[in-house]
């Protein structure tokens, strides 16, 4: 639907792009991590683009990515060298009525991404949420600390290797023992 956005992006910032695609009517542009802030500022300020309304930022953890019916080459594994995390930024233009999703591939060993909180203030809290849940450090974020979980929480809960029921209680009744959590006997990483 916003194919012209992708074309303009390819024309102006071709080297910063890794891939463009369109899924179910959504336009997606994969941006290289180091060029993200330049591309984002251009998208916000260029009169033909004018992406003035940020929508969301989140992260996808591909640790358990084994799509049914797809060949094994598309599955994610440690050895394949593909990055484990994908940050997705969704943008909207109020004046031109087009939408765009920017995706950035982030490897596990170097889980950081430039912050867009200075470009659009809405991403301030949302990047904090992504940091809290997935552990992605956003560089030059003004206030990067946990937002949903408490400071004493250890770990990043929405990663696929964090068990769903592993609680870290802050307080319990005096007459109740703080029991060690049993995470069940299901194989980690969801069920098939």
């Amino acid at each position: 639907m916003s194919q012209k956005v992708l074309d303009a992006l390819q024309g102006k910032h071709g080297p910063a792009l890794e891939l463009v695609e369109s899924q179910h009517g959504d336009e997606i542009a994969w941006i290289k991590r180091d060029h993200l802030v330049t591309v984002a500022t251009w998208l916000r300020d260029d009169p033909a683009m004018l992406f003035d309304a940020p929508v969301f930022v989140t992260c996808i953890d591909r640790l358990d990515w084994r799509p049914l019916g797809a060949p094994a080459s598309t599955h994610w594994s440690d050895a394949s060298g593909k990055p484990r995390f994908e940050i997705a930024y969704q943008l909207r233009s109020h004046t031109h009525r087009h939408r765009l999703r920017l995706k950035i591939a982030v490897p596990e060993h170097d889980a950081r991404c430039p912050s867009l909180a200075m470009v659009w203030p809405a991403f301030n809290w949302q990047e904090r949420e992504t940091f809290d849940m997935y552990g992605i450090r956003f560089e030059s974020h003004p206030d990067l600390r946990r937002i949903y979980m408490y400071e004493e929480f250890v770990g990043y809960p929405l990663r696929k290797d964090y068990p769903k029921e592993k609680r870290q209680p802050l307080v319990r009744r005096d007459d109740l023992p703080v029991s060690t959590p049993r995470f069940g006997t299901k194989p980690e990483g969801g069920h098939r």
Binding site: A53, V55, T58, I60, W65, H94, R97, E129, I147
Partner: protein, 419 residues
């Protein structure tokens, strides 16, 4: 007057010498900033937000808003549940307008399966009817609770009475007063009950009367206007850059309504207006919500006239449960029913972002599917979370008592904010 006369007059009035002659104690008693904690259990915090205020007297200098006290892990739970089992979790996101969340999730999964064009017309009309009823309960609760927090207890009780009628009707439709889980992927779970349109028409007429009463009480009420007008104003540019949507953005002059700009379902076939405000303060937000209530009533009346007959679920074996008669009598249907319930709807691998106009604005679901019956990732773009992030800027410079109307009119719903 001679200079000496002025100084002697000042001394007479103030009773002391000029500022340079103040004693050490008086200069050292400089005003200090005080830290006050509001929440997390506070009646005006709608449950679960903690604001650590730094105040200079009564004026707020800085507010550290801390959400997360109702984080119920919608995303993690969705990864372990089938697509249909996620519907109860979506109910509890924006729990004052649950049907809209249900519809949003159903539309996201249908977008992934390319089913959007094949949903039966009757199912679409039913979805819009219950969504608009849920939008009405949302606005009634928001305005009622905000009015109560300002002291207008009568308005709260009148709107609660109106909300009870809507809850009764929604209970007849879905079986539950509040957390319906009524919508399904491909349609809705069951048809409307008999005599529904007569009852809804009667209820709407009664609600119009209640609204007239409450508007008489509040719109030109000196206390209400003093406490709401000019408080928490936001400019149009600020609203857009902060990601604000819904009644809050519309009160600032941002003309954005998903139902008009990216129309979905049968909204192109009904006529309605979108109220847009000017100043962006709390009073404008209140007026926008009152006007949206009237527009929802208008939409409902049109839908009741235009709703066609027909099936309520798409006729696709990948998505719809077989009819009960077949389930109990043929083994193929029983197996199909079993696979649907246990394995879930198989959604082909891919990702999609689909959004609806919730009670608070653009409520979006970003779903990543991997071909199995359980979502790989289900992210909720919750408008309340984004609006709460603007609260810090809105309360700066106001008094502590102004936090209450600002917070009330943001309509931060804990379940949606903290997911």
């Amino acid at each position: 007057m001679a200079a000496s006369d002025v100084t002697s007059l000042k001394q007479l009035v103030l009773g002391r010498q000029d500022v340079q002659d103040l004693s050490d104690t008086e200069t050292e008693l400089a005003p200090e900033l005080m830290t006050i904690n509001m929440g997390p259990s506070h009646p005006a915090m709608h449950g679960t937000v903690r604001i650590v205020l730094t105040v200079d007297g009564e004026k707020i200098v800085k507010g550290d808003v801390q959400p997360g006290y109702l984080h119920r892990c919608f995303e993690k739970e969705s990864e372990h549940a089938t697509y249909t089992q996620v519907f109860p979790y979506t109910d509890r996101l924006n729990y004052v307008s649950p049907m809209i969340n249900n519809c949003g999730w159903a539309m996201a999964v249908e977008k992934l399966m390319d089913l959007t064009a094949r949903i039966p017309k009757r199912a679409e009309y039913i979805r819009v009817i219950v969504s608009e009823m849920s939008r009405m309960t949302d606005h009634l609760t928001c305005i009622g609770a905000s009015a109560m927090e300002l002291g207008a207890f009568t308005a709260f009780l009148y709107f609660l009475k109106a909300r009870e009628w809507l809850y009764g009707l929604l209970e007849k439709v879905s079986g539950a007063r509040l957390t319906h889980s009524y919508v399904r992927v491909g349609g809705v779970s069951k048809d409307l009950p008999d005599n529904f349109d007569a009852e809804l028409t009667h209820t709407l007429d009664e609600i119009v009367k209640v609204m007239v009463e409450v508007e008489d009480l509040l719109n030109n009420n000196r206390i209400f206007r003093d406490r709401m007008a000019g408080i928490g104003a936001m400019t149009k540019a600020q609203a857009l850059a902060s990601g604000c949507v819904g009644p809050i953005a519309r009160a600032c002059g941002v003309d954005y309504d998903v139902r008009k700009d990216y129309p979905y379902s049968i909204y192109p076939e009904v006529e309605f207006d979108v109220p847009v405000g000017t100043t962006g303060d709390c009073y404008d937000r209140y007026l926008v919500r009152i006007e949206e209530l009237k527009q929802s009533i208008h939409i409902l009346r049109q839908c009741l006239k235009q709703i066609p007959d027909g099936p309520v679920v798409v006729d696709d074996h990948r998505v719809a449960l077989p009819p009960k008669r077949d389930t109990y009598n043929t083994i193929e249907s029983m197996i199909r029913h079993f696979k649907h319930i246990v394995d879930g709807i198989r959604v082909p691998a891919g990702e999609a972002y689909s959004f609806v106009e919730g009670g608070n604005g653009e409520l979006g679901f970003y779903v990543v599917a991997d071909g199995t019956g359980r979502p790989y990732k289900a992210y909720v773009r919750s408008p309340s979370f984004v609006h709460l992030s603007t609260a810090e800027d809105l309360i700066r410079g106001h008094f502590i008592a102004d936090v209450v109307p600002i917070f009330g009119m943001i309509n931060m719903i804990g379940g949606e904010c903290d997911k």
